[in-house]
Structure formats: C-alpha cells, structure tokens
Amino acid sequence: MLLFIEQILNGLQLGVTLFLMSAGLTLVFGIMQVINLAHGSFYMIGAYVAATVTALSGSFLLGLAVALPATAVIGMLVEAIVLRRLYKKEHVDQVLATFGLIMFFNELTRIIWGRQPLFMDVPSWLSGSVELIPGIPYPSYRIAVIGVGLLVALFLYLMFTRTRIGMQIRAGASNREMAGALGINIRLLYTLVFGLGTLLAGLAGVMAGPILAVEAGMGESILILTFVVIVIGGIGSVRGAFIGALLVGMVDTLGRAFLPALFRMFLSSAHADGVAASVASMSIYILMAIILIWRPQGLLPAHS
C-alpha cells in the first residue's frame, strides 16, 4: 500500500512534467498546423541554462528565473527565423527542418557544455521529505514539481476561458482567416503562443534537472512521450493534453513498478522480470494503440 501510494505520486510527477511539455506543443500543432520536432530542444535548453546559473550563483530560484525567459526568447527567435517560413509548407518539410533544429541544438550544447552530463542539486530548502499522508514520507522536491504542474494547469485553464488573449488563441485555433479578419494580429499571436509553449517546455526541463542528468539529447526521450500524450489527448486540446499526460504518467510508472510482481504470479521469477520489463516499456504505446482504435482523433479533439 505504501509503495502503491508512492508510485501513484511518481506517476503524477511524470504526468505533470509531460503536461508542461504537451500543453505548449499541442497548441503549436493545433493552431499553426505545424509539426515541431524541436520542442524537446527547449526542454534541454531550459535544463542547461538553469543548471549553469544554479551552479554559478548557488541559487536554484535564480536559475529558474533566468532559464524561463531565456527559453521563451530563444523559442520566439526560432519561430521568427525558421518556423514562420514553414507554416505554409508540407508536413514533411516541417519534419525535416525541425529535425535540423534538433541536430543543431544538440550539437551546440555539446560544444558549449561538453559531452559529460551536468548534475543539478535539489535546492536545500526542498531537499527533505514530507509526510503528505501520515507514515508515507515523500521527497519535498517532487511534491513541489507536482504542485507547480497543477498550478500551471489551473493558470492555463483560467487563461483560456477567462481572458481576452485566451479567447484570441481559441479563435485562431478554430479559424485563422476569420480571426485575422476580426482584427487579431495572427502573426504576433503565433509568436506569443510559440513563446508560451517553449517557456513551459523550459519549465519542465528546469524541474527535471535535479531528478535526471542534464545532457544533450535529453529532450528527445521526453519528446516521444509528449507525442504519445498528444495523440491520446487529441491535437490542439489542452484539456486533452492534461488527461493524456496523467494517463501516460500513471500507466508508465505503475507498469514499471508492478508488472514484475504481476508476471511472477504466472512465470518463473527470472523469466517474469524480463517479460515484465519488455511489456512495461511498451505499455504506453499499447495504451495509445487501444485509444487509437477506439477514437482515432484522440480523447478530446479540439475541433469536434
């Protein structure tokens, strides 16, 4: 039971990280109709900038405060220089060009920071653990990650439903010509949405920094999970991304934690661990396949 609750919290933590990644990306897909493979690069940039500033200044908060605007600015620059020229191109061109961006950014980080991964310490004021439920201590830092993720989800929800800019983004998503005709500066809106998306990716990267190793290529492993989330949730839907992210986070974490025990009931233990590891590593893709058969457009498609 104790282990189960701990794993649920781990799943939630992976889920909110995936939500931060997919919320921005699903908007870019849905609104601009552009497939962006380079989203993981901003996650990596966020982590690197935060790790560097934190190491130099000793303050995690300062690292966070520098990394967020840095990723947003780099994101908006990339949008203005490269992505903007791809909106009217075919998907295959977008894939090719954004893959070029990945190669560029990965190699650039290797040039600047070298091939050795950086390690980030958990800030001292978050290094302890808390008993959320009596008798079950859980690292404070991971609880903070979950808290930040849920706060961002709430913020995005309020922004989309209650503010003018949120309304404009929704209008741009459902009909870009009409929104433009009604006086919304679509070009600026696209840049802002892209900047918001990269900022969230940067935030996810900063928060993952103390948990994972900060290294070139770290963005791609989470990018694929983000794609699975978006396919499950439906392109262009932030609510879908939230549900998809939590589903993927839970299934992945719980599968890895409990499938071995489950398989040991049927198979010899040496054999069971191998099979369980294989099935667990495929579990989220199987989940995706099932949802795809049931609802090809995802759980909550934006234009339904």
């Binding site: 090719l96 893959f99 795809l292 058969i293």
Partner: protein, 333 residues
C-alpha cells in the same frame, strides 16, 4: 525537343551512376582505398531503405517517421537466426523444433516476411489517421519496438547481438567485401526496377491518386485503405531486406538501428535526394553518408553545420539533388 532533353538528362544520370557503382570496387583498388567498398556498401543499403520509404512518402504522400522499425526488425531477424545457429539452440522448441540459420537464402526472405508482417500491423493501426497524427503514431510505434529490444535481455538488450560471421549464399563468399558489395548492388537494382514498374502500374496510379485526393479515389470506387496498406507493407518488407543487409555488413545488430533518429535520417535522405523519384533517395543516401564522412574528418561537431543545411534545403531546394540534376519537370507525379 524540350521533353527529349529532359529524358536524356535523366537517362544519362541513371546510366552514369550505375556505371560508376558497377566499377566502384575496381576504382577503389586502383585508388588504393579498399575502405571505399565498405562505405559504398553502406550507401547502397541505406539507398534501399530510403527508396523503400519513397514508395510511401513520395508516391503515397504518407509521412512515416518510423521506417527504421522495419529496417531494425530485418536486421534483428538475421541476428537472432544467426545467434541460434551459432549457439545450436532452438529458435522455437514447441510445438515443433525450429533451429536458427546462417543461410542468406533462409534469413533474408524471413527478414522480409517478418518486417512486412510488422508493417501490416503498424500500418493497419496508423493508416486510420492522417497528417500530423500519422507522423506521430508511426514514430511512437517505432520507439515502442526500440524499447522492446532494449529490454529484451535474451538477445543482448541494450548491447545488441554480435554476429559470428556474415550469412552464407551458395557459390558466393559474403565475407569478401567486394562480393558483398555486388550483392547489395544487385538487390538495390532489382528493387529499383520492380518499384519503378510498380509506381507506373495501375496500383501505383491509385497510390499516387490517393496522395492528390483520397476522397476522389474513394468516389471512383477504390478501397484506398487496402491500397495504402499494401503499399506500406511492400515498403516495410523492402526496408527489412535493407536491415538484413546492414546486419551482415557490420556483423552486429543493436536497438540503435531502429531508434527514431535513424528513421529521421532515412527521411532526410529521401528529401535530400528528391522524393517521388525512387532514384533521388539513392543520391540522397550517397550525399548524406559521404557528407557525414567528409565533415567528420574536419570536426566531430559536424551536425551543428548539417542541421542548418537541412533547413536551407527545405526552404530553397525543395526538389532535392535529383531535381537539380534532371530538372524538376521530369519528376514523377
């Protein structure tokens, strides 16, 4: 007259590159660079993988970002069969005993069949969607396979499998780099010939019609899903053959063969050479691997230059190398 000159340019390009490839081992010996033979074997193998992707990408308009899955499965089929043959253990021991094999006449057709079967499953699921969904889903399934092989400890897991030797073919010694090179060249030539016939056939016309407007093809009464699926399966099988060859060339298979960046690189080769041309991807594979070879002499950070080059290709040279060589009017479809 204009048409004729276009036709000539294309024919001249193809014949001269075929001649160059046929004479390459001799030229390499003359130049005292026998290493070129194995580099060009690698180019031919990737050319086969890229040309097979071009069938679905260039002619079908389906952007698959998971083509390396079939490449990797083909390689693993050869690797696993050879592994059991070497260890003299059973591939399957029940209900009937099936041993491994180190014969190319067994392993290669099995590699094609297994990857075609996998393509049928992945295609049946992913062809239910289109556009961005299709890209992400093919990518995700390929990654699923990657993780499956990473966690498959029985066959080396992350470390992969080392082959004891190359496969055997009657009358040939594949361990000899030059003979292996000509086998690759013959298989690539056969594929290009058959695929060229296929895209000009009624089947090919339906596939190309689907790229322009699937709705219209459906209105004409074509069961487009079945056509696209068959095309996906053919491309998957051919990529599996390429995988079987790469396993032989490097005598080693690992999950890295089906990592998604490999899929992306095969896609880059198609577009660099020019999609929807079949011959373009061959040029693209050669250009990519040669450029990688040359750039990595000067700097280990060659990707920092290659990335922006790809962006420029997208923005300014959309028809690829083949388009530049033969003129874009001569592109298929």
């Amino acid at each position: 007259m204009h048409m004729l000159s276009q036709f000539n340019r294309k024919t001249i390009c193809i014949i001269s590159s075929a001649l160059l490839l046929a004479l390459l081992p001799m030229l390499a010996t003359l130049a005292g660079e026998p290493y070129l033979v194995s580099l060009f074997s690698r180019i031919l193998i990737y050319a086969l993988a890229a040309a097979s992707l071009d069938l679905i990408l260039g002619y079908g308009g389906l952007v698959s970002l998971g083509h390396a899955a079939f490449f990797g499965i083909g390689a693993y089929t050869v690797g696993i069969l050879a592994h059991h043959d070497f260890e003299e253990t059973a591939l399957i021991s029940w209900p009937l005993f099936i041993p491994g094999s180190d014969s190319g006449l067994v392993a290669w057709p099995v590699a094609i069949l297994v990857s075609a079967l996998l393509a049928a499953i992945i295609g049946a699921l992913s062809l239910r969607t289109r556009g961005m969904h299709f890209i992400m889903i093919t990518l995700a399934f390929a990654q699923m396979l990657f993780f499956f092989f990473v966690s498959l400890e029985g066959y080396g897991g992350d470390d992969g499998l080392t082959l004891f030797s190359r496969n055997t073919l009657p009358g040939l010694d594949l361990g000899d780099d030059v003979q292996f090179y000509y086998v690759c060249l013959a298989l690539l030539g056969a594929f290009l010939f058959l695929a060229g016939r296929l895209v000009e056939s009624r089947f090919g016309m339906v596939i190309r019609g689907c790229r322009e407007s699937e709705k219209r093809m459906q209105s004409l009464g074509f069961p487009t899903f079945r056509y696209k699926l068959l095309c996906f399966v053919i491309a998957g099988g051919a990529a599996g053959l390429a995988g079987a060859l790469i396993a032989n060339q490097v005598e080693y298979v690992s999950p890295g063969l089906m990592h998604w960046t490999r899929s992306a690189i095969i896609l880059v080769m198609v577009l660099l050479g020019g999609s929807g041309t079949l011959y373009g991807p061959v040029l693209g594979a050669a250009a990519f691997l040669l450029l990688e070879e040359v750039l990595s002499i000067y700097t280990e950070h060659w990707m920092v230059y290659f990335g922006p080059v790809m962006i420029l290709v997208v923005l300014f040279a959309r028809h690829g190398l083949f388009g530049i060589l033969v003129g874009k009017e001569n592109r298929h479809g």
